[in-house]
């Protein structure tokens, strides 16, 4: 088809060209239009831009005069008399959009269009155009009727008016917890569903401990609780769990999912987020201290613009804004204005879904198709973020990097850095002077290359050594290393025939470092046979590059050979050069050397020592440097002089600009026009105020719904990130509003909200199946039972560590320290290893490196750090079972756990009992005993059988689910 088109269009062009020779029409005539313009439109444009098109492109019709004048998404396509200002011509020139998409038309054709428009765009076609199915304008007044945009309105529950099911008294309903139950019971009464009773004591405690801390209850707590399962005791346990640091860690991780937290950029250029951990620790600190959620929201949006009473608050304000920075970015995009709009889009999308439960990203190209978010609102928000510096500078050509903000430090810290820098300057000045003096003595300080030097380029390599110049102190053009591979297969031979027989000192140059091997085998072939020495390449050679291998006797009849091998090594092996220094030279006068030369040489040698001394001092001094001034990955406002509002970008295209929109928010949930009257800066501060306004209908609802989901298994609105028309409706709207209004009124405190929910009967119900209830409410929307839920990946892993007795509860900071700009290089051979799941800390402290997520966690549905994840997916795939069964880490933990169990007791029954307490926090049942005795058979004392048994539990459903 296309091929035919090409031929036809060629014929058409040829015909047109012929026509232009015979009939030199004036461009304002109808003939000109008929001969030059209409055929091109028919040929190249009507397929998508005529009434008969399957789908009209860009809402633009070109089959009538009116269609061209009215235009489409980009407005009118021609401006009569001004070809250069006409969208049609720009598109044909491939300057804005590229039309027709199948290929640029010949220049002559484009020139015809230019002439035609310049001459007034004569168009004889009927002005009646087919009606486009125009999208209705968003009716904001009507849209505000939608439940989510209505003010939060807490109506008391009907207080058990219908029956006493659930044994809630009217009095109990006056407490928050009582109200929760009452709303749920009322709804169940309406549908004849009967709620389950409370779950067993062990099940309840396991559920509570995991939900609040991500870890199982400890053994003492479990024993105490079983002894006294009273409501008062329950409440005490709730309080103690809420006060634990594990609570803060676990709930910080929930928010990190929403904040698409990551320690690297991912994407095309996986740049290291060296400072992201500060944000994670800010979250942990905030949840530990129960910082109010409205404060946290404001800090995350505009912390850098907020007042602070002290440095600690200032510190947290800045670190919190890392939230805006964490999205994955196409840093190597060369079109920086496109990149900026992509970053702004990501920020709007994140703020929209995280706080408002709205998919604002949809309004980038057109009015939101489902929700009342006109494109103007999107660009009102975009203006705020365009005035925010997120990206700043480049880490290499074309590759952007982000803004960094210095964090407040104590005066003492500042002073110590000043002292350090001034001392360093002094040392470097001394070194500079010593080097100048050395230079003035001639021979440019190469004294150390005396004797016979063989560089690696002249050495004979066996196997493939890798060349490098990474460290700059080397002899010749570079050095080689074994890439820490092919152990035993690589060697390099430095051979020479020395001018005369005698004793020589053999010296070896290598670039030392901590990744090197400690005992590199070196063979020296001397006149007395082969001598073997080893070199610790982790330690420095004597200054500047050489290390002595010892003194050996060599003959002038046979080669002197030094062979470096990587046999038996376990670190990198480096080879740079070998030097032979005649000991006679060193001691006696070299023939022909004058007294002056000797003196000069002595001076050079002693001056070299001075240089070396300063170098050594600087190195020692730098090693003890005070910590660098801390900085955060944080945004800032642009300079006041650059503050500006954003244009609408038509169809989201970077260069296709519409009207300017004043900065502001969403009209549908604001009074008035939702524009900022006088922005104080970017507008982020005003945005923070708007989000945390007690009358914002969305933010509190969205937040309490997330908490409800984490504790109850499903949100009251099940689509936790989408409260719009395409999201689900709340199952219990009155309850949602009651929770939200209590939450706001009582100061936006997470702990109080969690306490209210977990002390309810609804939270503590059993997961037992009931056919009768399932018939009426198969999805358990009424919460007649507790949802059986997955443990998050982190909880599964942390518990295995705990069971193995290896869990280290201390936090970790700066987990990306030591990484370069990139977590791994972009070449084909790059390999990056990160503190993996075997590091025994809690999972929240492991590095979250995009593109390098540990398979154990990804298979257990950890949040994809590329995306905002309000609710983690739960998959059941073979790969999940396989990683739990075959991961060396899981097998290791099972082994360690089996040792603990075997040590804990001697009898089989007690060991089995202890295994159940450790792994499932309950006693084994008769069925469990039966399964175990079949499995163990005669292997009751076989450690391997215990390992297998515990590994089996680790991969079983009960271990990974909360009943």
């Amino acid at each position: 088809m296309r091929h035919c088109c090409i031929i036809w269009s060629l014929i058409a062009i040829v015909c047109l060209a012929a026509a232009s020779q015979t009939v030199a029409q004036s461009p304002h005539t109808v003939e000109f239009f008929e001969n030059k313009i209409r055929p091109v439109l028919v040929q190249h444009c009507y397929e998508c831009h005529a009434a008969g098109a399957d789908e009209v492109g860009g809402a633009l019709l070109l089959d009538s005069k009116q269609g061209m004048v009215v235009g489409g998404d980009s407005g009118p396509v021609l401006e009569s008399g001004n070809a250069d200002a006409s969208v049609l011509v720009a598109a044909m020139r491939y300057e804005s959009s590229e039309m027709p998409p199948s290929g640029k038309l010949p220049d002559e054709v484009i020139q015809d269009f230019e002439k035609w428009i310049a001459a007034g765009a004569t168009d004889p076609r009927s002005s009646v155009t087919a009606k486009l199915p125009m999208r209705a304008e968003i009716d904001l007044d009507q849209a505000k009727e939608f439940w989510a945009f209505q003010p939060i309105d807490a109506q008391p529950p009907a207080t058990g008016s219908k029956s006493a099911t659930g044994s809630q008294s009217a009095a109990a309903a006056t407490t928050a917890t009582g109200r929760i139950d009452q709303y749920l019971i009322d709804a169940m009464n309406d549908s004849a569903v009967v709620p389950n009773s409370i779950a067993s004591d062990t099940t309840r405690l396991r559920r509570l401990a995991f939900d609040l801390t991500g870890l199982p209850p400890d053994q003492d707590q479990l024993a105490d609780w079983i002894a006294d399962p009273s409501t008062a005791h329950w409440n005490r346990i709730v309080d103690s769990l809420l006060a634990s640091s594990e609570f803060a860690e676990h709930w910080a991780r929930h928010w990190m999912d929403v904040a698409r937290y990551a320690d690297s950029n991912g994407s095309d250029f996986n740049a290291t987020h060296h400072e992201a951990w500060r944000y994670r620790d800010y979250l942990i600190r905030s949840f530990a201290s129960d910082r109010s959620i409205d404060t946290m929201i404001a800090q995350q949006i505009a912390g850098d613009l907020l007042p602070a009473v002290d440095d600690r608050e200032r510190h947290d304000n800045i670190v919190a804004t890392t939230f805006l920075m964490l999205g994955t970015k196409m840093l190597s995009e060369r079109d920086k204005s496109k990149l900026q709009m992509d970053v702004v889009d990501e920020q709007i999308d994140t703020v929209g879904r995280a706080f408002l439960g709205l998919t604002l990203g949809c309004a980038r190209c057109h009015d939101h198709k489902f929700d009342p978010v006109p494109t103007e609102d999107y660009y009102a928000l975009a203006g705020i973020f365009k005035n925010t510096v997120t990206l700043k500078g480049e880490s290499q050509k074309y590759v952007s990097t982000w803004n960094r903000t210095k964090l407040p430090v104590s005066d003492e810290q500042l002073r110590s850095i000043e002292r350090y820098q001034s001392e360093l300057r002094r040392l470097e000045k001394n070194l500079g002077e010593a080097e100048t003096a050395l230079k003035s003595l001639g021979q440019s300080g190469q004294e150390s290359l005396a004797g016979v030097v063989i560089d690696n380029v002249d050495a004979k390599q066996t196997g493939v050594w890798k060349e490098s110049t990474y460290f700059d102190d080397f002899v010749g053009p570079g050095y080689v290393h074994d890439n820490n591979k092919n152990k035993g297969k690589l060697s390099i031979e430095f051979a020479t025939r020395l001018p005369k027989s005698g004793i020589y000192e053999v010296r070896f140059a290598y670039a030392y470092g901590s990744t090197r091997d400690r005992a590199v085998p070196v063979t020296v072939t001397t006149a007395d046979g082969k001598q073997r020495v080893t070199v610790d390449q982790r330690t420095a050679p004597i200054a500047p590059v050489w290390r002595s291998l010892g003194k050996f006797r060599f003959s002038d009849q046979t080669d002197a050979v030094v062979t470096i091998s990587n046999a038996g090594t376990s670190g990198y092996v480096i080879a740079d050069a070998v030097q032979f220094i005649s000991q006679e030279d060193a001691d006696s006068e070299v023939a022909g050397e004058t007294e002056t030369e000797k003196l000069a040489k002595q001076k050079r040698v002693s001056q070299q020592k001075v240089v070396d001394k300063w170098k050594q001092q600087i190195k020692i001094f730098k090693a003890a440097a005070p910590p660098k001034l801390p900085e955060a990955m944080a945004p800032a406002d642009v300079a006041d002089s650059e503050l500006t509002d954003s244009h609408v970008h038509i169809r989201g295209e970077v260069r296709n600009l519409g009207d300017v929109v004043r900065r502001g928010f969403l009209q549908v949930c604001s009074p008035g026009d939702a524009r900022i009257a006088n922005p104080s800066g970017s507008g982020r501060r005003e945005l923070a105020d708007w989000l945390t306004d007690p009358d914002n209908p969305l933010v509190a609802r969205v937040f309490v719904n997330r908490v409800w989901m984490h504790l109850m298994g499903q949100g009251i609105v099940r689509t936790v990130d989408n409260f719009g028309a395409q999201g689900e409706r709340p199952t219990h709207p009155e309850l949602l509003d009651a929770l939200a209004s209590d939450f706001v009124r009582e100061g936006w405190h997470l702990k109080a909200l969690v306490r209210d929910i977990v002390t309810s009967s609804a939270y503590q119900r059993s997961t037992d199946y009931s056919a009768a209830n399932a018939e009426l409410d198969p999805e358990n929307r009424l919460l007649w039972r507790a949802h059986r839920r997955r443990l998050p990946a982190e909880a599964v892993r942390d518990t295995m560590l705990q069971v193995a007795g290896e869990l280290d509860r201390r936090g970790r900071i700066e987990q990306m320290a030591g990484r370069g700009t990139l977590v791994s290089s972009n070449d084909a051979n790059s390999k990056a290893e990160f503190a993996g799941v075997s590091e025994p800390c809690r999972s929240v402290y492991l590095p979250t490196v995009r593109s390098y997520m540990p398979p154990l966690l990804t298979m257990l549905d950890v949040a994809d750090p590329d995306l905002l994840v309000g609710r983690r997916p739960t998959t059941n795939v073979p790969a999940q079972a396989l990683v739990l069964i075959n991961s060396p880490d899981v097998n290791h933990w099972a082994t360690e756990a089996s040792k603990r169990v075997m040590h804990s007791a001697t009898g089989f029954d007690t060991r089995l009992h202890n295994t159940f307490l450790l792994t499932l926090q309950r006693d084994p049942t008769a069925v469990d005993r039966n399964t175990a005795s079949q499995f163990f058979a005669d292997r009751e004392n076989d450690p391997a059988a215990w390992r297998e048994y515990i590994a089996g539990i680790f991969a079983s459903t009960e271990f990974r689910l909360l009943d």
């Binding site: 296309r2 091929h3 998409p101 290929g103 640029k104 991912g266 994407s267 095309d268 994955t328 196409m330 840093l331 190597s332 995009e333 060369r334 079109d335 496109k338 074309y398 395409q726 997961t767 037992d768 199946y769 399932a774 059986r788 791994s824 290089s825 972009n826 084909a828 051979n829 790059s830 390999k831 593109s851 990804t858 549905d861 590329d866 995306l867 609710r871 997916p873 739960t874 998959t875 059941n876 073979p878 790969a879 999940q880 079972a881 396989l882 990683v883 069964i885 075959n886 991961s887 097998n891 069925v927 469990d928 499995f935 590994a951 089996g952 079983s956 459903t957 009960e958 689910l961 009943d963």
Partner: protein, 459 residues
């Protein structure tokens, strides 16, 4: 309820590992009815059952392989007579490569001497010479070719196909990536993004290296009879749990997954074991030659997987084609490593009767500039380049579209990467506009809001 298409989904394999309803319970409310992971009746008659993407990462030069430009030879060293695109380090001086172009086979398709083995299959190749894509840098362009997006996180094409069609084998995944890069987006290029996680590729090797050629975690430290006993124990514990809980989709789903894992553990090694192939086959794929060994193994595994029912297989070269300098040296080496195995794969597919319902796709994330960069290299060129197709549903010995006289810009019958994706889906029987997934409030497609099927290349 969806209508299952029996011709493409044997009902006997209904418990296949791709069974969407079990695997992705939590996604149920979000799933689009048009394509829910269970197979649909095809939108259009399918021409092929599977795709092998021979990804030449880094961007091979089209003007040195498949896009013959006599004027480039004539004007070697002269100034490019039109403007360069922005943000480029190339100098506007034309550079002709040393490889001679010849017309090949019956069809007379132009292929250069750089790829003599592929050239010998010219009558089976369909060259699109008018490709263009988004992204002047690797990251964006690699994202485009693999996911259809140069900036945002989107499911990979293999994930979409897995999602749409499932696997043709009861115990194997639908989507496999051999030697995928860890850079330029890494897993994102074979990932599922917001599609259910099961659709991300099962990975073998990395960065163009075949590695041990095994599925990770298929084997572990414990083996033999003992691991079988562990599988049995797990299922007994799960069954105890289910007995105690009553009907529960979570537990039932896990039991199913463990069962499938056990079967995959037994079935996959047979399929993945290249030792099952004859010495002659190893030789034909170049596995016996160090130069071609790694890519040869990848291609041979691809054929075995294709035969077994895997839907989308990528064999990645590793990021080796990026010759900003030393074009001749680099391209010679890369062609030396890949050309022979690819031709062997084509011949093998034909010989086994798989050619007519397999599509192979050869190409990089972009091409290279006809002008020189530095002394002897070429810069990135997303403005115009070639990709090569072959197999079912496409014309053989055929070239489509044109770049300008020097091969810089795609000029006639331009094919955007979205168009290529639309065409691949079309050949599989999928209308790219109807394969959608509801996420974050809207329906997403592989081709976003773009893409036209390139009808001109269809057989």
């Amino acid at each position: 309820m969806n209508t299952h298409s029996l011709d493409r989904r044997r009902f006997g394999t209904v418990s296949s590992i791709t069974l969407g309803s079990l695997a992705v319970s939590a996604f149920a409310p979000n799933r689009s009815l048009q394509a829910s992971g269970t197979v649909l009746r095809p939108h259009v008659p399918p021409k092929i059952r599977r795709v092998i993407f021979l990804f030449q990462h880094g961007g091979p030069s089209h003007v040195d392989t498949f896009d013959y430009k006599p004027l480039l030879a004539r004007d070697d060293g002269k100034e490019l007579p039109f403007a360069l695109p922005p943000n480029l380090d190339a100098v506007p001086k034309l550079l002709n490569g040393p490889w001679k172009f010849k017309q090949r086979g019956q069809s007379g398709l132009w292929v250069s001497d750089l790829l003599p083995h592929m050239a010998s299959q010219a009558d089976s190749l369909c060259v699109i010479r008018s490709m263009h894509t988004n992204g002047q840098s690797h990251g964006q362009a690699v994202g485009m070719v693999n996911t259809g997006s140069d900036n945002l996180v989107r499911p990979s094409i293999g994930a979409w196909i897995s999602y749409a069609l499932g696997s043709d084998h009861p115990d194997l995944p639908a989507h496999v990536a051999i030697g995928p890069a860890t850079a330029h987006g890494g897993p994102r290029n074979y990932g599922a993004a917001f599609l259910p996680a099961m659709h991300q590729a099962t990975v073998v090797g990395s960065n163009g290296k075949f590695g041990d050629g095994r599925i990770p975690y298929l084997q572990g430290p414990v083996q033999g009879n003992m691991i079988q006993q562990r599988f049995d124990l797990i299922q007994q514990l799960n069954q105890n749990h289910l007995d105690q809980s009553g009907p529960d989709r979570e537990i039932e789903g896990a039991i199913e997954a463990v069962d499938l894992a056990a079967r995959m553990r037994l079935a996959a090694p047979e399929v993945f074991d290249l030792a099952n192939e004859s010495a002659a086959t190893h030789q034909a794929y170049g596995i016996t030659d160090k130069k071609t060994e790694s890519y040869g193994r990848g291609c041979l595994l691809a054929r075995r997987l294709a035969e077994a029912g895997v839907r989308f297989i990528t064999v990645s070269s590793g990021q080796v084609w990026d010759q900003h300098s030393r074009l001749v040296e680099g391209h010679t080496k890369n062609a030396g490593a890949t050309d022979l195995p690819i031709a062997a794969l084509i011949a093998d597919l034909k010989q086994r009767g798989l050619w007519d319902d397999t599509l192979i796709v050869w190409g990089g994330e972009f091409g290279r500039t006809p002008v020189v960069q530095g002394k002897n290299g070429r810069d990135h060129n997303p403005q115009g380049f070639s990709m090569v197709l072959g197999g079912g549903g496409v014309r053989g010995g055929f070239s489509y579209g044109e770049t300008d006289d020097y091969g810089y810009y795609a000029l006639h019958d331009r094919v955007h990467m979205h168009d290529l994706h639309a065409t691949i889906l079309h050949l599989l029987g999928i209308d790219h506009e109807r394969l959608t997934y509801r996420y974050a409030g809207r329906d997403f497609r592989l081709t976003d809001v773009h893409g036209d099927v390139v009808k001109g290349i269809l057989a």
